[in-house]
Amino acid sequence: MNPTACYFVTTIVDENTEIAVGLRRRDPELLDHLIEKYQHRLLRYLLYLTGSRELAEDFFQDTWIRVLERGRQYDGRHEFSTWLFTIARNLVIDHVRRKQPVSFDSLTTDSDSVPPFDIADIRTPSAFDDTVQREQNQQISAGMLHIAVEYRETLVLRFQEGMSLEEIADVTGAPLGTVKSRIYRGLSALEPWLKGARL
């Protein structure tokens, strides 16, 4: 490992260790800081997982309460975000099981549903490009709510959270091969939605 990479790895490990120590102490300042730091990432993950803004916000709060209560279980050896998303995921799964003990697929929304988030106002060089991009974003966000929740979750973790394949496997509890397959199938499932967006 080169010195720069070594520096970054050491910094990340130190940060995770500090978080682990703070969580063991139930340090309120640390928790406030973590809530602020991970607010957008956690909410985005929960929105895609549940397909509902209201549910996602409830789970957002419950996740942090669970982080507080189970903070002693975080050892600091893994990335904090991986542990955080695992807690959030387990809460959603528990909720789904309590509600209807069938499957995770029940989180796939109806065809007429509206995405629980706004489409980006992306500034591109020309008005045409801007329109195309907005159209694509709308189609993809709609498509995301129609593909299987396992694909949706994996795509979010991979391309929005930038997680490695191993980290995604940790969060989802799926084997590495399954994670790879879900990324491929998820992108393939979104392809028709992208094509539908073309002007």
Binding site: F117, Q139, F159, L187
Partner: protein
Amino acid sequence: MNTDPNELKQHERARLMIALSVGLGQGSSRTTLSHSGISNSDDVWLSSHLESCLPCREFAENSRKTIRSLRGIPIATTGSLVSSTQMRVRQRTQELERQRERFWVVCTCVAAVTLSSAVSAALLWHAFEWMGQRARLSPPVWEGGFVVVYLAPAVLAGIVLLTNGTFFADHSPPFQNDPNAN
């Protein structure tokens, strides 16, 4: 696209590699296998395959656009959500702190009661032994007296609790009829 099984496998392989490597930063995607999921030799093979395969090139381009769109969807929390979460977490922290303090109070009480009962049992035993010898009683008699006196407070407390109702009976919510039961 050709329907030859071998060629189909090649396209499948290429698309899987595209899915695993597309959308990652150049620095990270090409240097480590664990992050990108494809090795350097696979990367070379993929590049040569893409040069000759239009559908796979199209898939790669669509995947890039899909990922760009995914990243272009902004999802922001509201300030009220963050502040209410922080407030809930602080309240829960205080609750847990109170629970922890109560736990230590209970532990201290249990330790004190255990210690004092051990000391008082030894003192009471010697007192009964002395009185038994003074009154010229046989050991089983004063030993029986010790047992009765030592256990009497606990037995009395148990009787009082049973006649007046226990703490749990007084504090548990009353049974309610299920409105849906019919």
